[in-house]
């Protein structure tokens, strides 16, 4: 089959590889119909996530048709059309039972390595480095899905791929980010990053009762998309000081919650942002957390900072005194996608939201390498790339 493989920093190529096989009794094989490129794939592309190996198959936003099931798969069957969550849960451990699927104890074959780095390992993830299990990803014609009964949601035929594909990651991720804000009626939520997760977070915040959403980015095309959802927008390149601006916009009290939907590759032009780039280049720090710093500083007293943006390693100059001084609550981590797939599918079915609005580019698998480059350079107003396999 054809697959998009990581061949090194800023090198993605189409390879012809073996078709996946059933390896364990709870596996299923899925013929992929659509897959997407995620902002977090760019962290891999740019070499920020350690333990990638040349030839790893990328992709963790995938859907398709079940073509084969292992002997212990009981719920889903051949012919089902499913969306696959990016995180892999076993469905049985302490964490899966609590619906904390991305903390699953039993799906990361390399958990000893992750234990050493993080204390305890999270679940395995599709196409997201060997630290997270080294599972082959879904930017390919076929994918093997472990614990397929747990790691799937069956979608009805009348909904198009584009409407449901984002149940695999960005819609639940944006939704959980907003849910983590414990939004009350009348709340203001500020969201750093108006990429796909930021866009889903804006709409989810409104779904959950936010009064105002402030969307912060420096790409006009993205801010336009935010405005369409009813968010107020701030281009941080056009204001003197982003923190002053947010304070002014919120009547001097700050947003009730702040979402960092940027993660470890913040752009930004502040002194600290520039220093981050120097330090990352010299391996003195691994992550560039300027959006997070601002979110902490901007948040009102006793507010919540919610972090769906990915971080991988060591962060420098985090204003922890500000966080403590204001009594902030932090919520973060990989999304427990399986918990949200069904209720969010219902919201899509009920026409409360159509996540396909975020798509700017539709491509074929062969165009993948070019699309990665374009998405990374944010050319052509690229926000979301969907790969259509047919």
């Amino acid at each position: 089959m054809k697959a998009l493989c990581w061949d090194g920093k800023q090198k993605v190529n189409v390879h012809i590889v073996d078709d996946p096989q059933i390896l364990n009794p709870h596996d299923a094989i899925v013929k992929v119909t659509s897959a997407a490129i995620c902002g977090s794939d760019l962290h891999l592309y740019d070499g920020y996530i350690p333990t990638m190996k040349k030839g790893d198959i990328l992709g963790h936003e995938t859907m398709g048709e079940v073509v084969e099931v292992g002997p212990q798969v009981t719920k889903i069957k051949v012919g089902d059309r499913i969306v696959i969550p990016f995180d892999i849960g076993c469905g049985h451990c302490e964490f899966c039972q609590r619906e904390e699927f991305s903390a699953c104890d039993n799906t990361n074959p390399n958990s000893v390595l992750a234990d050493k780095l993080y204390g305890y390992s999270g679940s395995g993830l599709f196409g997201y480095s060997h630290l997270y299990g080294g599972y082959a990803g879904g930017q390919a014609e076929y994918i093997r899905v472990p614990f397929a009964d747990t790691n799937s949601v069956v979608v009805p035929r009348h909904l198009k791929d584009e409407q449901v594909l984002f149940l695999s990651d960005i819609f639940p991720t944006g939704y959980m980010a907003a849910e983590n804000c414990n939004i009350r009626r009348g709340d203001t939520v500020a969201i750093w990053g108006a990429g796909p997760v930021g866009q889903m977070a804006i709409r989810s915040a409104f779904l959950l009762g936010a009064e105002r959403v402030i969307s912060i980015d420096h790409y006009e095309g993205r801010l336009k998309m935010s405005a369409l959802a009813g968010a107020e927008t701030v281009n941080y390149e056009e204001v003197d000081g982003i923190l002053d601006e947010i304070k002014y916009l919120t009547g001097g009290r700050g947003p009730d919650s702040c979402i960092d939907a940027v993660g470890l590759e913040a752009h930004g032009h502040t002194v600290t942002a520039t220093l981050d780039r120097v330090k990352a280049a010299a391996f003195l720090a691994t992550d560039r957390p300027d959006a997070l710093r601002q979110a902490i500083q901007a948040c009102r007293k006793c507010g919540t900072v919610s972090i769906p943006g990915v971080y991988g390693g060591l962060l420098d100059k985090i204003p922890f005194g500000a966080a403590f001084g204001k009594g902030l609550t932090f919520k973060m981590g990989q999304t427990h996608t399986q918990k949200y797939m069904k209720p969010l599918l219902e919201r899509i079915s009920n026409e409360e939201i159509d996540p396909s609005f975020v798509i700017t580019h539709k491509i074929k698998l062969d165009e993948g390498p070019e699309a990665y480059k374009m998405f990374n350079e944010k050319k052509d107003e690229c926000i979301k790339v969907v790969i259509n396999m047919q």
Binding site: V17, G55, E94, V112, A136, F147
Partner: protein, 157 residues
Amino acid sequence: METQLQPSVLPKAPKRIVFDNQLAKDLKVRHSITIECGRAKVFAYWRDIKSGLAQWHADITEEKENAMLVWTSRESAEVKTKGTIIFEDGLKPEQTVVRFAMDYSLPGGKLTEWARFFKGEDPDTLAIKSLKHGKAYLEAGEIPTTEGQPSGRKDKQ
């Protein structure tokens, strides 16, 4: 005036596991793992030499049903090991805490020990892996793997 230490007023302590920390303290490898599965099944898994202790080429020298296993490796084993596994009820029903303690000696001295460590084949890593495999098998019915999956490393083009 002589002050005497008074017993403080404490809330009633809930049932808890009290680890005997002195047990096997001198052994090189000590790990514990919590498994969402009843004690009898967990014990049976490790008692079954094929799944539980196979990699150590060991014989069980002492056992208390559903509570303890003691083993020593055979003469033929490359890495000489001896150790104890203790099985206790966890804090929740159908939950077991497995405590694993092991001593070992490696052929070839320090250098080989380091070489093994970097390959992830040192006895300590193998021990925690075997505990995790047991946990995955008992909780989820399979041991996670990616061996045999495709990648661009064996390119067909």
